[in-house]
Symmetry: C2
Subunit: 338 residues, 2 copies
DNA sequence: CTGAAAGCGCTAACAA
DNA sequence: TTGTTAGCGCTTTCAG
């Protein structure tokens, strides 16, 4: 492994002090002669010198690193969000750390502490809410933003989508099409804000129309819990058109083949809809009614807020919630005629 | 923003020197008394002290950061790979940087140089091959691994899949089913190793069976180039069963709705297959024949190789290629009977 | 216009 | 068993 070029080397080759080189690096060109500037420039190019970000960070107390902590980076929400976040941060010279928690509070805590040790400049988390004490403390040291899931923590800003309203609108849409009942499929709430909100939206829509709610909770790790749904649909759709609405795209992905297998006609006997907008929603026939989350906007907004706060480090944010509306996509899978 | 706790603070509160605290941090417990150890432990816990990774890195010349540079992190290949990579690196205390190049050589160069300045401990790249000079230089300073795309650069290891063989096998499979011709849809080669290899596999399979190759090149940024494919299929499938085989999953995703729209029966009049295994391949009817890339294995292998090399920094690797076999999935979309 | 020197938080000889 | 000291590569007063 080669030795790396340092500011010392540059200074020596250019015949100046390291101070002057440092000035050059920080673009204080007016406090040096043309000749000096040119010489340093040339030496840096020749030597392929790049200032050591560690040393700069240690001195300046910043790293130009922003950390994103998500449950699972393969979830479409996370991928899209991180991309968009990265695209707004990257031009400003920030690097993106990505870590996964798998929804495990202990892992989350360990990850966060490790990021703290790395002296990241800011954190963005899709948290489970079990480490809010720790995160509140961290929020006094750097900008912290929660995305997707909302928790009231002092100093932490939330960037979320209108889960409840969108869910209510989607449910309302389905019912207005004439489906007699809507089966809502969700996962154990477990303190996850989105699950609660989406369920409540569904319940509210049912309530307003005096429709009896019908909810089944599944566990993605237990295949047989999905069978319960399939059996329920098989019975329920016999006598009248019903619809199945899943609380997230992964559930629909798991459920879809089995539901289609039942042989009911979609959308005339069986309506289908899901929260999230899976990339395949337009590929199946008929296309799937769904709720597209504004991940790009959320990522961009998060990035912009961070850049702003990183620009003026001494501003404290007490508590703020940014809600961005989801986008309902009415596909053929809920187009009931008759 | 609060002041952060330093090793100084811990030393003062514990009534010892910072050296002793440092020893504690590095688990050299045998060179201190039980009492001291206990006291330091308590102080660290009380103060919520975490050692500054920047300072440690500056001293030790390592950052515990591995950088992944990909074309687009939303590509299924990248997501899966990065997850798997992260899962093997994370337990060893490594953090993952993620950057995108959008396939732009200049951006790639800028990103790589910036990562170099950040003093990452290793780089994993899905490169376009235009910065191999720079990367060769970097490979003398740290482990560098190319994934997905192969380039011969001294000191750089390649982790790839058997694109050519898999492509040939897939094409052979389709032809053996009895489709008279296979239309191969690809993108401009542009020096991208995978595109070349997959095409060659296709050509070879055709050649062996004396079938005239039929290739159309599309551009994902130009919608009308896809129309060319659709028109060709419309004509071609009139008289005899043909198949369409796309060089990657994104192409099939774009093409699929339009092809289905044509009204030909899949698989009897029109066969469909793609490289990559899109998450929706099992959701459409009939299920899509495809080539699953071993992204998990590739990520894990890459991570393990890195950990090994990071463990013993002075070993030089001349040039190595690890090829991992893809997994062919024969779905209903190419099941031609008759 | 330029440089010397202190120090960011930590590690590792070298002493005691 | 513990402490003193010299840096790692950089930025920033403060003095010329």
């Amino acid at each position: 492994m080669d030795k790396r070029v340092t500011i010392q080397d540059v200074a020596r080759h250019a015949g100046v002090s390291i101070t002057t080189v440092s000035r050059f690096l920080n673009e204080r060109y007016d406090s040096m002669s043309e000749a000096t500037r040119g010489r340093i420039e040339a030496v840096i190019r020749d030597l392929g010198y790049r200032p050591n970000a560690l040393a700069q960070g240690l001195k300046g107390n910043r790293t130009k690193i922003v950390a994103a902590v998500v449950v699972n980076m393969s979830y479409p929400f996370c991928v899209g969000f991180m991309r968009s976040l990265n695209q707004t941060l990257s031009p400003a010279g920030y690097h993106l750390f990505v870590s996964e928690t798998a929804g495990n509070p202990d892992r989350e805590r360990a990850v966060v502490q490790s990021l703290q040790a790395q002296r990241v400049d800011a954190m963005v988390l899709q948290t489970g809410g079990q480490n809010n004490d720790l995160l509140a403390a961290i929020a006094t040291q750097m900008p912290v933003i929660f995305v997707d899931r909302k928790y009231s923590v002092p100093g932490v800003t939330n960037v979320i989508t209108n889960n409840r309203e969108a869910s209510e609108q989607l449910t309302a849409h389905i019912l207005e099409q004439g489906y007699r009942r809507v089966l809502y499929v969700t996962e154990e709430e477990d303190g996850v804000h989105t699950r609660k909100e989406r369920l409540q939206g569904y319940l509210q829509a049912c309530h307003k129309r005096s429709i009896k709610p019908w909810v089944i909770t599944v566990d993605r790790d237990q295949k047989d819990t999905f069978d319960v749904v399939v059996n329920a649909v098989e019975d329920g759709a016999k006598k009248e058109p019903i619809a199945v609405y899943t609380g997230n795209g992964l559930l629909m992905m798991r459920l879809y083949p089995a539901l289609v297998q039942l042989g009911y006609q979609v959308p005339n006997q069986l309506g289908l809809a899901t929260f999230d907008q899976p990339d395949w929603s337009g590929l199946v026939q008929p296309s799937l009614t769904c709720v597209g989350q504004p991940v790009d906007t959320m990522g961009a907004l998060t990035g912009e807020m961070l850049l702003q706060r990183l620009g003026k480090p001494d501003e404290t944010v007490s508590f703020e919630v940014k809600t961005i509306a989801s986008n309902l996509v009415f596909g053929g899978s809920t187009r009931l005629h008759g």
